[in-house]
Structure formats: C-alpha cells, structure tokens
C-alpha cells in the first residue's frame, strides 16, 4: 500500500473548507409529481405530500452523514418537484394555494430548507393551470415558509411571452406587498426565468423538469472564497495564468460536488443527475464573487473592467468544472446576487455598482439580476421592463437569465432590507424614473430570434 497524498494536499483541502468557506451549497432531490395527478383535490394534496415525504425521507439524515464522513459542510438539503402548473393543471388558484401548503407541510416534516417547483412554463403562452398558478403565487408565498416559485417567460426557441412579463411585474409587486412586514421576502422566493434549466438545484428557481427521471439527486457547490484566495495570492499573474489558476481551483471545488453527489446517490439509491458548478456566494465575509473581481485588480466591483473580469472568471470556472464532473448542468456559472454577497453590497453602498452595470454583467455570467432590492414605489411596468431586458439578454445569447427582484415596500433608494440567513441583506437600489408603461402594455410575444447572422 502506498500513501498517495502529499502533506500540502491534505492541508490545502482542510484550509479550503475551514478558512475559505468551501462547502456543498445544496443537495437537491428532484421528484416527479406526474404520477400523482388526479382530479380530486383532496387526494391530489395527499398524494403529493405522501410522495415527497416518502422519496425524501432520508435526505436530511443522509446529507448529515455524508457531511460528517467527508468532513465538508453541506449547507442545504432541498427538494424540487414537477412544476405545479403541470401536475395540478386543472385547479383554480385557491386549489393551487392548497397544493403550495401541502408542499410546505412536506418540507416541514422532512426538515429540509426549501422546496421548489411552485412553477409554470409559459414562454409560448398560458394554460388555464398556468394562469391559476401565477394568480396564486403571492398568497402561496406569503402563507408558506419553505415553498419557492419560478415562472419561465421566454426561451431562445420560443421568444418572450410579453403578456407573462407584464403579469409577473404585478405578481412580484404583490408578493412584496403581502410580505412587507418581512421586507418583502415573498419576492425573494420567486424567480422569473428565460431559458430555465430543468435540473437546477439552486433556489428559488429549482423545479423538476418533465424530461427528468422519477427521482434524481442534483448537487450545487459553492466556493467563491477559495477562488478569491487564489486570485489574491498571484497579483502579478497575467490573464492566461489567472485563468489557469481559476480553472484548477474550480476543478477541485467541483470534484467535491461530484464526490458528494455520488455518495448521496448511492446512499439514497436515487440516480445522480448533475453537479451545478456555480460559484455561489454567501453573506459571510470572504465568500464573495465581488471580492474575486476586486482581487483581479479592480478597485471596486462595478467599475470599468468588471464585465471583462467576470467573463474571464465565468469561463474559467466552467472549463475547470466541466472536467471535474461527468455530468454538469443546472445554472453553472458565477452568481452575482447582491444581498447574498458582502462585496456586492459594499460596491452598491459606495456607488460603484448600479442596476445597469449588473445588467451588463449578466450578459457574461450566470444567472441574472438576483436578490436586488428596489424602491417600494416602483411601478409593476418598470419591474416588467426589467424582466423583459433580462429575458432579451438570455434569449439572444442562448443562456439562462433570471430576475429575482424585491420591491422594498415603504423604503427608498439607500435604505436597507434584511432577509437574514443565506439571503442576507441589501441596500435599496435606484431604478430609472422614466416610464416603460406603454411598451409593456403592448402585449403579445417577442418573436424567437434568428440564430445565424450572429452579430
């Protein structure tokens, strides 16, 4: 028998976990609800609750065992389900709220952190079920604790459903109003997507797509702190070297996801789906994507050069991560949520980062305008227009984009909102004062784009 590890390797792993916040952000079990479909709402509720609780009964225990076995924290255990607008397509919006509450009870019973899939896919148009679900979102999110919701309003192949974009502006505002006592946390549990992936383990946008197996394990890793550290250690590296350093680090981070995903899959006897190799920040100091960009040599995240720095980071993370895992999927890229990233919050506070720059940054990274608080007197049309801009970026660039924006009811730009935990807190950011109302009220669909003539 040979001892195959250098002392430095063992120390590096331990340091990454204990000093640089390397962790597994989430093990997410995807569960299909298609076999629960039944007309009677009482039995539908029961079947959904029973299936989720049965399939995920060991998820939390197994997560904790694996975490101890390998000595790496697993922060969240989550469940995603088939979009409820599909699984419960015949229900009214009152019925949809009842299903949300059944999911919430299941999540509570299991001890998981979130359950995603109170969702609808409406890129090309609405079914009755889609409309009922969308109407139910504000009440469902304000009366549950664990349920997350998402609506896909556009794809590169279908274009953008602008009627849905208009409606989602109203829904987001309504969510924030209904949960204004908690700084609008309802809106923090709702994501509007273009090109939503069907195997995303991250919340609030996780749902279990209809092309997925009955049950699957997806894993999301996290490691901005580790990348920030390595970038800081090499201030003189040119961009080629910098990219290589990030690739090597991303490889190591993603390998942890692969290991944990395989271990969880084996222990739970559920097929392993994908590793989402995203760099997901947390509000913890040092676990920041903004800090990586600043360590590359920018005085503050948001200044000129930020988009280029982020493009390099995002690409290197994908290159390193893709080799580390046999199946990569989900959102896979660097996240730039504001409230969840202490460096982003600081950049906003000092005036280095605004909504327009964040929008530009989303052209080159995953996922979109994320966890951004805007003034409470914002109009629903302005929110819709922000969604439309972001969806256009996703549609044209053939990538996932999303908007998770929180109108801070009763607050103005510069004041703060606090959500606590992984969601963090953030300063309220300015939106443009000029109206987009007439544009948003046109209705209809933005046609799918041409994919040749690609300038």
């Amino acid at each position: 028998m040979t001892i195959t590890f250098a002392r430095e390797e063992i120390q590096q792993t331990i340091k990454m976990i204990h000093e640089e916040n390397l962790d597994i952000r989430t093990i997410t079990m995807g569960i299909s609800l298609l076999d629960c479909v039944t007309e009677d709402i009482n039995s539908l509720e029961r079947k959904i609750y029973d299936k989720v609780v049965k399939k995920a009964s060991h998820l939390v225990t197994v997560g904790e065992q694996i975490s101890s076995r390998y000595g790496i924290p697993i922060i969240n255990k989550r469940v995603s389900v088939t979009p409820i607008a599909i699984a419960a397509a015949h229900l009214s919006s009152e019925g949809m709220v009842r299903i949300a509450k059944a999911l919430d009870r299941a999540a509570n019973e299991l001890g998981i952190n979130f359950i995603g899939g109170f969702s609808a896919l409406v890129q090309k148009g609405f079914t009755e079920g889609d409309l009922a679900l969308i109407d139910a979102i504000p009440q469902a999110l304000s009366e549950t604790n664990f349920v997350c919701s998402s609506v896909n309003i556009g794809t590169t192949k279908a274009g953008i459903n602008m009627d849905a974009v208009k409606r989602m502006g109203e829904v987001i505002l309504n969510c924030a109003q209904k949960t204004s006592a908690q700084d609008g946390i309802g809106a923090a549990k709702l994501v509007v997507f273009c090109n939503a992936p069907e195997d995303n383990p991250f919340m609030a946008g996780a749902f279990h797509g209809v092309g997925e197996p009955d049950c699957v394990i997806n894993v999301g890793v996290s490691g901005p702190g580790v990348v920030a550290k390595v970038v800081k250690e090499f201030p003189d590296a040119d961009f080629g070297e910098l990219s290589n350093l990030i690739k090597q680090t991303a490889f190591k981070i993603t390998r942890m996801g692969e290991l944990i995903g395989r271990a969880a899959s084996k222990a739970l006897q559920v097929p392993f789906g994908i590793v989402d190799l995203s760099l997901a920040p947390t509000p913890a100091i040092g676990d920041s994507v903004a800090e990586i960009l600043e360590n590359m040599g920018l005085e503050r995240c948001g200044t000129h050069g930020t988009t280029a720095a982020l493009a390099l980071l995002n690409d290197a993370v994908k290159k390193g991560g893709a080799m580390a895992s046999s199946h990569v999927g989900g959102l896979s890229g660097a996240f730039i949520p504001v409230s969840e990233d202490a460096g982003m919050v600081k950049a906003v506070e000092v005036g280095a980062l605004d909504l327009d720059k964040l929008e530009a940054m989303t052209c080159v990274c995953s996922v979109g305008l994320d966890m951004i608080a805007v003034p409470g007197d914002v109009s629903s049309e302005t929110i819709s227009a922000i969604i439309a801009d972001e969806a256009a970026i996703g549609m044209i660039n053939k990538k996932t984009t999303a908007v998770r924006i929180i109108p801070a009811i009763g607050k103005k730009a510069g004041e703060r909102v606090e959500f606590g935990g992984l969601l963090g807190g953030a300063p309220v950011m300015n939106v443009h004062p000029f109206s987009s109302k007439t544009f948003i009220n046109r209705g209809g669909r933005i046609p799918a784009p041409i994919t040749s003539l690609s300038n």
Binding site: F5, E9, I10, T13, Y70, G71, M256
Partner: protein
C-alpha cells in the same frame, strides 16, 4: 463506470494544536482501543504548533468513521486540539485525476 472505485476503508486523521507531551500516544491509544490500524504518520512542529497527519484503516474498526470522528473531535477539544477524521476519498477526489 470507471470513476467509481471500490470504496476503501481508509481515513485521514489530522490533529492541529499547541504542542504538548503525549498527543500521538493519546491518538494511538484511542485507535488501538477501537481496533483501528495506523498505516502512516507524519508529524511536524512549527513554532510550537503541532500538526499531525495520520492515515488509518478502518476495516476492522469497532466504530463507524462518523462515530470515531465525533469521539476524537470531542476529546481533542478538551485537550485544546483540533482533530478531524475524514474519509480519504475527499482528498483523492480533490487532488487526483
């Protein structure tokens, strides 16, 4: 699939803390008590700071890895030592292609 190897029963124990007499003796005694076989030890002291890395085989162990980890971590804390027991796969996956 070739990436999944037969899982070994090996674990890595790391002990970090202020140097004191009897650290290795304590760990070795505990391991003998639980029938854990020591395969390799490396130890250094840097400015009174003790670091030990030990590779052990848990095949014949009377304790599960997680229980052993909890026991050593708790007793280590009382001695002012940070003790971790991790399955070797975490290091294999991270550092070996």
């Amino acid at each position: 699939m070739t990436m999944i190897r037969e899982e070994s029963g090996r674990a890595i124990i790391t002990v970090i803390g202020r140097d004191q007499i009897g650290i290795i003796a304590w760990v070795a005694t505990k391991l003998a008590e639980y029938n854990v076989n020591i395969l390799d030890i490396s130890q250094t002291i840097l400015k009174e700071f003790f670091t030990m890395i030990m590779v052990v085989d848990l095949k014949s162990s009377t304790l599960e890895l997680v229980e052993l980890a909890n026991t050593l971590e708790q007793e280590g804390l009382n001695k002012g030592l940070q003790v971790k027991v991790q399955h070797e796969d975490i290091f294999t996956y991270m550092h070996r292609i």
